[in-house]
């Protein structure tokens, strides 16, 4: 090591220049990258009257998100935005979305559609964006209601919770221990559903024999969810069923169950993507699970954004807007727009869906 030290130890100019050349080369690379990016983007700084929309999902490169965004971009085009963008962090941490919001603020984007990783962490950045004239649409996972104009919700939160409880009760025969395997502990939407589930289990006499013994979090990480599922089995030998109200969690749990002795013995339901769940439904690990059409979520969000940007609506309760082929939507209490009822998937209908 010592020789190495000496070798690089001196400070001859040629090596300085070498470092400089290396840096310069990289810089050039970035410059081309930027230029390329700029071309693709068509520039956020569209001409007067040309509106722009940007989607900021919880995290890029997530299959559920991709379906949502697919619908979003389709909606953006249909609604008449000049350009639509998708930007976002590679990890779903609370604070990583902020600098994307900042960049969009500065780029003068008219509508920012966001699925918040943390309801509060993004707030001040969104405030700034609004000050700059942008309209904020939350979708999928809400922000603090003060920081957005409307929230596009999949379904009525309570409905989602109830249907999952109903499914699990049916699958375990109405009695026994169950557990919940959720996404991150801070996920706004999951936490709301779980709250309704707990209330329902406690209050509905039909579910008196069902005991919720544990809530665990797989952080929407495949490996982690997998191991949490495994831990549940061991810690609760009498477990009869698991609810996983997140697409990553349900898939990972299904994977574990299908590869273990618990397959067919422990019931699993929750919210999942048909394409991801198909093998597990076919092999009997999972009987039924639910979801809405995620593409519609993005689609409606785009139209809500357009309506806000055009000044047609302000986000007040009772405002209505036209969501393309999905028809008219109304803004409900708390500035929430409901997309549609959840669908229940099982072996009979799963092949009819492709998302």
């Amino acid at each position: 090591m010592e020789l190495i030290r000496n070798r690089t130890g001196k400070t001859p100019g040629r090596r300085r220049i070498a470092s400089f050349a290396a840096l310069a080369a990289t810089v050039a690379l970035i410059a081309t990258g930027c230029a390329g990016g700029g071309d693709d983007g068509g520039g956020g700084s569209g001409a007067e009257g040309e509106q722009t929309i940007t989607f900021i999902p919880k995290q890029l490169n997530n299959p559920y998100t991709d379906v949502v965004l697919g619908g979003g971009e389709e909606g953006a085009e249909a609604a008449g935005f000049a350009s639509s963008q998708v930007v976002g962090p590679l990890d779903a941490s609370a604070s990583s979305q902020v600098s994307f919001i900042n960049a969009e603020t500065q780029a003068g984007t008219n509508v920012i559609v966001i699925a918040a990783n943390d309801p509060d962490a993004v707030c001040s950045a969104l405030e700034e964006a609004r000050t700059g004239g942008a309209k904020i649409v939350a979708f999928d996972s809400d922000t603090n209601p003060d920081c957005r104009d409307v929230f596009i919700s999949q379904v009525v939160a309570k409905d989602v919770a109830l249907i999952q409880v109903e499914l699990i009760a049916e699958q375990i025969g109405g009695s026994g221990e169950i557990a919940i395997l959720s996404a991150t502990a801070n996920a706004t939407n999951q936490n709301e559903w779980i709250k309704y589930m707990e209330e329902e289990l406690a209050s509905n006499p039909e579910y008196a024999d069902i005991e919720l013994v544990a809530k665990v979090y797989g952080d929407d990480d495949d490996t982690k969810s997998f191991q949490e599922a495994q831990g549940l089995m061991q810690a609760y030998p009498n477990l009869k069923g698991i609810i996983s109200p997140t697409t990553v969690g349900i898939a990972a749990t299904a994977r574990y169950l299908s590869t273990s002795e618990y397959k067919g013995k422990v019931a699993l339901t929750g919210l999942g993507l048909p394409n991801e769940m198909r093998p597990f439904v076919k092999d009997g690990t999972v009987t039924e699970f639910a979801l809405w059409d995620p593409a519609q979520l993005g689609y409606v969000a785009a139209f809500a954004g357009k309506a806000l940007a055009d000044g047609d609506i302000t986000g007040e309760v009772g405002d209505t807007f036209e969501a393309g082929e999905l028809g008219e939507r109304e803004i409900g209490d708390g500035g929430i727009v409901i997309v549609g009822p959840p669908t229940v998937f099982n072996a009979d209908n799963i092949d009819d869906y492709d998302f």
Binding site: M1, L23, T26, A31, G37, S45, A103
Partner: protein, 364 residues
């Protein structure tokens, strides 16, 4: 991270000849400043800024300054004491976990209804203690810092989870959180930069202008050499780890208030970003070399590229590839050119020497 204990005597030293590959190339005065490693980093920073201003629409605005600086502050803060730690040949991987722990403690105390002043003081003290734990294990017990801080990376993050669990505390005083994102007039410079500049100046002065700082370079090159001139090796290292702990806590406080969200996973993964920036800034991982201006330039360089790419809506994918490439290029390029100049030197010597030796032999 050279381990002086294990380096067995090398015969190199027996005859005392120094291994040199080139003519002595020290520079004096302006040439030294203008061609130094720091200067190169600063030129690169300027070039990148200019390119970004030309290529990325809207980059050239005070708003950029504000958002960009707010983004880089945590890395910039922690990079300062980290520079000193790495110059002494150690490393601290637990910084992000300390920031997370601080954030967690802040959240819990605030929720428990303590006065915000007390909350801040206790949170920063927690960072001091965490740093002291690292420092004790490294400096007093004498364990390798790489291993110790991998352990405390897990430990402190774990404690953060123990403290706050999966809760998030968000209701910090609005005037405080507003202060943390406020700007100095129309300049676009965040108000907190004042504090950050104080930290930068503190560590810059400490490293470059004080007897203690002088000692750190000696320490990083050779603990033995440092001890021979009376430098208290263990004490210096202990203080440096307390320094990284304290500043990490400050970064944790900043993080919590900027995002007004106290969570156990705040700042996770930040340690690698900090170390990458410090190394890019010209600090040698073996210790003994590096400077604060170089590191500041490197942090800003990464920050500018980062922000420009986001503004240009280039995917983060490009950013991480660029960060990795920059890091490797900055350390590999000197070696490559060193090898080339050695090869040229060897060739020159081979051409020149035969005559020299014949005349030498004649005198025998």
């Amino acid at each position: 991270m050279s381990d002086p204990v294990k380096t067995a005597p090398v015969p190199e030293r027996v005859d005392g000849t120094t291994v040199l590959e080139a003519e002595p190339k020290g520079r004096t005065g302006w040439a030294r400043v203008l061609l130094g490693r720091d200067a190169v980093m600063i030129y690169a920073l300027i070039v990148v800024i200019v390119i970004a201003m030309i290529a990325v629409p809207r980059f050239a605005s005070p708003v950029t300054t504000g958002f960009l600086l707010l983004d880089v502050i945590p890395v910039l803060l922690i990079a300062m004491p980290m520079t000193l730690v790495i110059i002494t040949g150690e490393i601290d991987l637990s910084v992000a976990s300390i920031a997370g722990l601080t954030s967690a403690i802040m959240g819990v105390l605030w929720q428990a209804g303590f006065d915000i002043g007390i909350v801040l003081v206790i949170s920063v003290l927690a960072g001091v203690v965490a740093g002291a734990v690292n420092g004790f294990l490294v400096a007093v017990v004498g364990l390798p810092s790489l291993a110790v801080t991998i352990g405390t990376l897990a430990l402190f993050r774990g404690l953060a989870l123990v403290v706050i669990g999966d809760n998030a505390v968000a209701n910090f005083p609005p005037e405080l959180t507003a202060f943390f994102t406020s700007k100095l007039g129309a300049t676009g410079i965040p108000t907190v930069m004042v504090g950050v500049v104080v930290v930068i100046l503190f560590f810059g002065v400490l490293l470059h202008l004080t007897p203690f700082g002088r000692g750190l370079y000696a320490l990083g090159y050779s603990q033995e050499a440092a001890r021979f001139v009376g430098i208290k090796v263990a004490r210096a290292k202990l203080w440096l780890f307390v320094g990284t702990g304290t500043v990490s806590a400050l970064a944790g406080v900043y993080w919590t208030l900027r995002y007004s969200s106290a969570r156990s996973d705040n700042a996770s993964g930040l340690e690698l970003a900090v170390i990458a920036a410090v190394l890019l800034g010209g600090v040698s991982i073996f210790g003994g070399k590096g400077s604060i201006p170089g590191v500041v330039a490197a942090v800003l360089l990464i920050g500018v590229i980062n922000y420009a790419l986001r503004l240009g809506r280039v995917s983060d994918v490009v950013l991480i590839i660029v960060t990795g490439s920059l890091l490797i290029a900055s350390v590999v390029a000197p070696s490559v050119f060193g090898a080339i100049s050695k090869w040229r030197h060897d060739r020159r010597v081979h051409r020149e020497l035969p005559q020299a030796t014949t005349s030498g032999a004649a005198s025998a």
